[in-house]
């Protein structure tokens, strides 16, 4: 009985429209993993096409694939295929769509990639301006001298 019920709800398809116009037909139970989409559906029950204006088709495809396949093994291999740019955009997408599992996975992946890097590299990656005064920065560099050893060259 439960099986029939879930089949009935999962057979309903939804269309997601990415920012560049690419359309994705997904099953309702997949779409519901995106809490933002879930909220949209709750508001407008008979909607069929949902606009996702902040996510490119390329990334939405990856997100949908992740939701379908996620398990420990898949997650471990998942992040290896993407460069830093894509990882960040995927993280923004996961954040916007409110998918906590994917967010966790991506945060871990990005952390692993920057772990051994220099502060300059991290500033570039995150597009951050240094708001320390030169004195403050020098003081921190001195205080945490040990943390600067063995760092990857940029």
């Amino acid at each position: 009985m439960a099986e029939e019920k879930s089949q009935a709800s999962s057979s309903k398809m939804l269309t997601l429209k990415a920012s560049d116009g690419v359309l994705f037909e997904v099953e309702l139970n997949i779409a519901k993993e995106m809490k933002t989409v879930q909220a949209y559906i709750d508001d407008c029950e008979d909607i069929e096409t949902i606009p996702i204006p902040n996510v490119l088709g390329k990334h939405l495809a990856i997100v949908i694939e992740y939701i379908k396949k996620t398990n420990e093994e898949y997650d471990a291999e998942f992040e290896k295929q993407w460069n830093m740019d894509d990882l960040q955009l995927l993280l923004l997408a996961a954040n916007y769509l409110n998918i906590s599992g994917l967010q966790e996975c991506l945060c871990k992946a990005i952390a692993k990639r920057i772990e051994n890097k220099s502060p300059e590299y991290v500033r570039k990656v995150f597009n951050i301006e240094n708001d320390h005064s030169p004195e403050e920065e020098a003081k921190l560099r001195k205080e945490y001298k040990w943390a600067f050893e063995g760092v990857d060259k940029d």
Partner: protein, 404 residues
């Protein structure tokens, strides 16, 4: 047709700079970094330098540490505990314990060299941690006689040949295994031990007399070559044999010099680091207990004053750097801790309660679970264990993740 609501309005274009990561996401990323990286990145911008003092951030950082599985064992649930229970001088038991409430307990049959006919079992210690399902056990009854590598799942045992220690009637010989570990570079299991010679004076003190006795020394055993080799290092030796040694990531760690120094010995290249512990003056006291363990991927110490209800945990940021210890936990319990006996998976801290029961405190839930076994005094040990059905030394037997 439904009219747009606030939810729909949210779906508009948010930012034109598509790579701008908002603060809560960058903090989430930072909370997964090791201490060393966190300190280095305090230079990136002002708000990041204040993070480590932010209680919310520390909370998330802490939770990440204890909610991840032990790196040596992954998360596939086949992890259990090995408990060395001391009941009496010749009554020692090794249990394999598993289950969320530690319901499954299997008492193991100790390998033969440790049996004393009609007496029981020799006093035994498990060196460090179980590695790849292998326990390194030695008997510690005065004159050390036997060290064994033992895989309880296959019942395979390897008796380690004697090292370079000398035995003569004029003095006593003490052989003390300090570490058991896996050298990933050389694909080899190794044991490091210290040999000392002494006599006992009228006040029962141990005395090493330089002119009369050979010099104490360190030696390393390699399973591959099945032999011991002396090494000429002047490293601090273990002071208290209770929970002062742990293996992780190709290094054997132990507490030396009256539990004031952490020694970290890298097995593949025999380089070692000495890190002073972050002790306050009042803590150089026999009643202040330090236990060594590993939390997620950091070496950690659990400290407490004997017979109190609280304990603290600090993790190490960088070997050799005293300033890189970070205090992460200050826990106040309702039960009195007689003795801390180690850490298990995912934030489980084991201790002997003042009623003799061995219990587990879960750092994430704050709940205490009784194991259902009592232990005498401070001799009990606990280690994480994962069954390995292969023979010791089998190529397939090594199933470490990249950083083990």
């Amino acid at each position: 047709m439904a009219t747009p609501t606030t939810n729909v309005k949210k779906m508009k274009m948010v930012s034109s700079n598509s790579n701008y990561i908002p603060d809560h996401l960058s903090f989430s990323i930072l909370s997964k970094l090791p201490v060393k990286s966190l300190k280095r990145f305090s230079i990136v911008r002002k708000s990041w330098s204040l993070l480590i003092q932010n209680p919310n951030f520390i909370n998330i950082f802490r939770n990440n540490l204890i909610s991840n599985s032990h790196p040596l064992y992954g998360g596939d649930g086949d992890v259990s505990l090995v408990l060395n229970q001391f009941v009496g001088t010749y009554d020692w038991n090794i249990y394999l314990i598993s289950g969320k409430k530690f319901e499954k307990k299997v008492k193991l049959d100790l390998p033969l060299p440790f049996h004393l006919p009609q007496v029981g079992v020799t006093p035994i210690r498990v060196v460090d941690s179980a590695i790849n399902g292998i326990l390194c056990i030695y008997d510690c009854d005065g004159v050390h006689t036997t060290t064994v590598l033992w895989n309880p799942a296959t019942e395979e045992k390897i008796v380690i040949p004697p090292g370079h220690a000398e035995f003569q009637s004029e003095f006593m010989t003490q052989i003390f295994p300090h570490g058991f570990g896996y050298d990933r570079v050389g694909d080899d299991y190794k044991i490091i031990q210290h040999v000392n010679y002494y006599t006992i004076d009228d006040e029962n003190h141990l005395l090493h007399l330089e002119d009369v006795m050979p010099d104490p020394f360190w030696e390393i055993f390699s399973l591959r070559s099945n032999s011991w080799r002396k090494i000429d290092f002047d490293m601090p030796t273990i002071y208290s044999i209770f929970n002062s040694a742990v293996y992780f990531n190709g290094m054997c760690h132990w507490l030396g010099e009256s539990d004031t120094l952490l020694v970290s010995f890298k097995l593949c290249n025999e380089v070692y680091f000495v890190t002073p512990l972050p002790l306050e003056d009042t803590q150089y006291d026999d009643d202040f207990v330090v236990s060594l363990t590993v939390l997620n991927e950091s070496v950690a110490i659990i400290t407490n004053w004997k017979n109190t209800t609280s304990f603290q945990i600090s993790i190490l940021g960088e070997f050799g750097v005293e300033e890189s210890w970070i205090r992460l936990f200050d826990v106040e319990l309702l039960s009195t801790i007689e003795r801390l006996i180690g850490a298990g998976e995912k934030g489980n801290i084991f201790f002997r309660r003042d009623d003799g029961e061995l219990v587990c405190f879960d750092l994430t839930t704050g709940l205490i679970e009784e194991i259902g076994i009592k232990g005498e005094r401070c001799w009990c040990q606990i280690a994480i264990y994962k069954k390995n059905p292969h023979l010791i030394g089998d190529k397939q037997a090594i199933s470490f993740p990249a950083n083990a």
